[in-house]
């Protein structure tokens, strides 16, 4: 029986391998690109939008509306997770719930020193990535996640209370909402100027400067705020649970 199964598997695997090799031989070489859209954008993005990172120019300008959709996907998911995980106000604490020993701040000098070095690096790198989205790879989304990992490192080096002190839930909730709303408001600037929604109507500046590419910079800032605050909000739901359960 086992031999039969092995035989069946071998026949299937051989067929699959043959199909893969056949398909692989027809693949275009690495780096070849068949579309025309990318070539056009590479040629015009620097002149039209003064953005040296064409990917950001596409995400926050040419296809800015798609990014708005993605931003609200993120907003909705954070909202959903927070709603599901948050303990209801009327849900009473069970008295015989096992309490935990409060987690002490780590006493290891190595952990605390490493955290002390990492946090400022993460904050400045995150801010750099958010503000230089139009100039170099990265942008609001990536920078926002880097920024949101900083309070996590603080939590690892200290206690849950410290986390909530540097990232109070009220502040993260406000940040997430302001970030998401800011994107729409910047989009409305185009309408106010008598053009289309999300049209790049601000002065474009010099390519390579952080202050360049008009609305791309400000859209990156709002996305950075929304992502950093939203992710921190998720973390704080878990941290609040830890605090509640600590004796």
């Amino acid at each position: 029986m086992k031999a039969l199964r092995l035989l069946l598997f071998a026949a299937g695997a051989l067929g699959l391998a043959a199909a893969f090799v056949g398909a692989g031989r027809k693949l275009p070489p690495v780096g070849s690109y068949a579309g025309a859209y990318g070539e056009v954008l590479n040629a015009v993005a620097l002149g039209e939008r003064r953005a040296t990172d064409v990917v950001s120019a596409v995400n926050f300008d040419y296809r800015g509306l798609d990014t708005l959709g993605e931003e609200f996907i993120l907003f909705t998911s954070v909202l959903a997770v927070a709603t599901i995980l948050r303990r209801q106000e009327d849900e009473e604490d069970e008295e015989d719930e096992p309490k935990w020993e409060p987690r002490k701040a780590p006493e290891s000098d190595a952990v605390r020193t490493l955290g002390g070095v990492l946090v400022p690096l993460m904050v400045s790198f995150g801010l750099y990535m958010i503000s230089h989205g139009a100039v170099s790879p990265g942008g609001g989304f990536q920078g926002g996640l880097v920024l949101a990992s900083a309070p996590l490192v603080v939590y690892l080096c200290a206690t849950a209370k410290t986390f909530l002190r540097i990232a109070p839930p009220g502040l993260t909730r406000a940040g997430e909402s302001i970030g998401a709303a800011g994107y729409v408001l910047i989009g409305c600037l185009g309408v106010l100027a008598g053009k289309t929604f999300l049209e790049n109507v601000l002065p474009l500046g010099t390519p390579g400067n952080a202050w360049s590419s008009g609305t791309i910079l400000f859209l990156n800032l709002t996305v950075g705020l929304a992502v950093a605050a939203g992710f921190t909000e998720l973390l704080s739901v878990f941290v609040e649970e830890v605090l509640r359960r600590e004796a």
Binding site: D53, G138, Q142, L145, F238
Partner: protein
């Protein structure tokens, strides 16, 4: 040189992807998926897609494993509470 590195990363990607599936314990699986995400990010970078690589590092190597670990902690806590309930 770059081609050889790409090939090496492809093989590493296949091996680590297999290991993610073969790991049975969810907590170790989170660590395995984090390593897989890091390899994938390096591969994106070597294919000249630094924007995607940065997103991949942030999401695949940090955010996803972290969310898995936090969710696991939450589930285990609920299980502990239920066990205590049945003991009474």
């Amino acid at each position: 040189m770059i081609g050889a590195l790409q090939l090496l990363l492809f093989i590493l990607l296949a091996v680590s992807g297999m290991q993610v599936v073969r790991t049975r314990e969810p907590a170790s699986q989170a660590v395995a998926v984090s390593f897989y995400g890091l390899v994938l990010a390096l591969l994106f970078f070597l294919h000249q897609a630094p924007d995607v690589a940065l997103s991949q590092i942030a999401v695949g190597a940090v955010a996803l494993p972290l969310m898995i670990l936090l969710a696991l902690a939450k589930v285990r806590r609920a299980e502990q509470a239920r066990e205590k309930e049945t003991q009474r």
